[in-house]
């Protein structure tokens, strides 16, 4: 029972982390191409350069989380 609960919590954690990474991916993508809008909207916090820096390293956690998520789903379904 404990193991099932732990697995469920781990699945949830991966799902929410993946959602967060996707959201940041989208925002930084806009921060690169639509910097004239995003920069003032974020009070100058997300500059075009910062958006670039974050966006270009995000592929790795995104890929890891996506693979984990798919793995967890196949195990649940299987």
């Amino acid at each position: 029972m404990k193991n099932v609960l732990k697995r469920h919590q781990a699945r949830q954690a991966v799902v929410w982390l993946l959602v967060a990474v996707i959201v940041v991916y989208l925002i930084t993508g806009f921060g690169m191409t639509e910097y004239r809008i995003v920069e003032p909207l974020t009070f100058g916090l997300l500059t075009k350069l910062l958006a670039f820096k974050i966006h270009t390293i995000l592929w790795m956690p995104f890929l890891v989380l996506l693979i984990l998520h798919i793995y967890q789903r196949t195990r649940t379904v299987g």
């Binding site: 690169m32 191409t33 910097y35 004239r36 500059t47 075009k48 350069l49 670039f52 820096k53």
Partner: protein, 226 residues
């Protein structure tokens, strides 16, 4: 039957009258010449070219509309003979060159265009740069700036373009002049050039360079430090 034919005839007559009237009105408006956007070539020496409309608009303040009547190109700073040219003086006083060059933007897109203009080297030579001049700073109409070591402009065939794909630059693409900063990232390809300043400030940083972009802007290197 006769009634029907006359109805059709009436309709035909009315339509003809409308068409004739429309023709007259159109004829009147034909006196005014409407300016069309310039036609561009899409192939050069067997190689395909991108279109003028393939660029993404990413300038700092949007497209600039420069009034060509009052426009002056200033060559200033560490030069023996500062100059101040009109648009016509620039395009008529120097040898014209054209070259197919690809612009690579840091955003990930690129365009290959046939650029036509004068060599920056010729422009600078005219003003006799002083020995202390180490850096050339380009200023644009919207306040944008970027800089290059003087050797980059003197040792390479760097074009200051006033035509792309055979047509004069349009305001969105940097009319009157755009720098074709070959082998540099797109942010070094300054548009709407108004001033070329020679300086001894080797630490000078332009608009994006002050915000962390590489000062050299070399295409074979990252544009920011990881």
């Amino acid at each position: 039957m006769r009634k029907k034919i006359s109805g059709v005839t009436l309709m035909f007559a009315v339509s003809s009258a409308i068409l004739i009237a429309a023709g007259c009105v159109a004829g009147d408006s034909m006196d005014e010449t409407n300016e069309l956007r310039p036609a561009e070539v899409r192939e050069y020496e067997g190689e395909k070219l991108s279109s003028i409309s393939d660029f993404r608009e990413n300038s700092i303040k949007g497209p600039q509309h420069v009034d060509i009547e009052s426009y002056r190109l200033k060559i200033a700073g560490l030069v023996a003979s500062p100059a101040d040219y009109t648009y016509d003086e620039v395009i008529n006083s120097y040898q014209n060159y054209k070259k197919r060059v690809t612009l690579d933007c840091v955003e990930g897109w690129s365009v290959t265009i046939l650029w036509e203009g004068l060599l920056v080297r010729d422009l600078l030579a005219e003003t006799n740069p002083l020995p202390d001049a180490k850096v050339v700073i380009f200023h644009a109409y919207d306040g944008y700036t970027t800089s290059f070591p003087i050797e980059y402009l003197m040792d390479n065939d760097i074009i200051m373009a006033y035509k792309m794909n055979g047509a004069a630059l349009v305001p969105e693409r940097g009319f009157p002049f755009q720098l074709v900063a070959e082998s540099k990232w797109g942010y070094k390809w300054i548009k709407w050039i108004t001033e070329v300043e020679l300086s001894d400030d080797v630490e000078y940083k332009g608009y994006w360079e002050r915000r962390g972009y590489s000062n050299s802007g070399d295409l074979d290197k990252d544009f920011f430090e990881r």
